[in-house]
Symmetry: C2
């Protein structure tokens, strides 16, 4: 099963590192506890929408960019598990079965 | 503040309607309570990553497509509140201030 929070965590960690920010700096800037951010980056906790907005704001990073990066990462995993993305032609798959077997 | 869950709810509701599925049908297919799905579609509850995966699977809809559609909707709102997306050239914005005023 492809989990949104895991890939979101990867993208958020990558964005923070690209900015050369420490967890402590991001925590102070976003006013979110360091431990919580750390759990989110490791994909262990779901980020609430408010928290996600705070993190984006603290990194001066548009939420749409984050979501596109996560979508790209999800796409790669979907392709890896053989999920046909947006092109069902010739797929001849039993309805609702491919995703299940990919999970 | 642009909230992920609100735009995610819009996209999920749109996908369900495009398929001509009722809440009851999606609830049965995804094995998620009807009330919970309804709250998610209205942006009132955060969807866990597992639940999001279940809903996508039940609609035979790649998660990456959902996220791209949400990213597009977020982009439109970001543009509407004057957030410069991915093109800071000439923006002359005080660091970390634009997102705050947009929230």
């Amino acid at each position: 099963m492809i989990l949104f929070r895991r890939l979101l965590g990867d993208v958020l960690r990558g964005a923070r590192m690209q900015r050369g920010m420490t967890l402590r700096e991001l925590s102070a800037e976003a006013r979110v506890s360091l431990g919580y951010i750390s759990e989110i980056e490791r994909g262990q906790k779901e980020a609430s929408s408010e928290l996600l907005a705070s993190l984006c704001q603290a990194m001066d990073l548009p939420l749409s960019d984050v979501l596109r990066d996560v979508a790209d990462a999800v796409s790669i995993e979907e392709a890896a598990v053989g999920l046909v993305v947006s092109t069902p032609i010739g797929a001849a798959r039993p309805a609702g079965d491919v995703v299940a077997s990919a999970a």
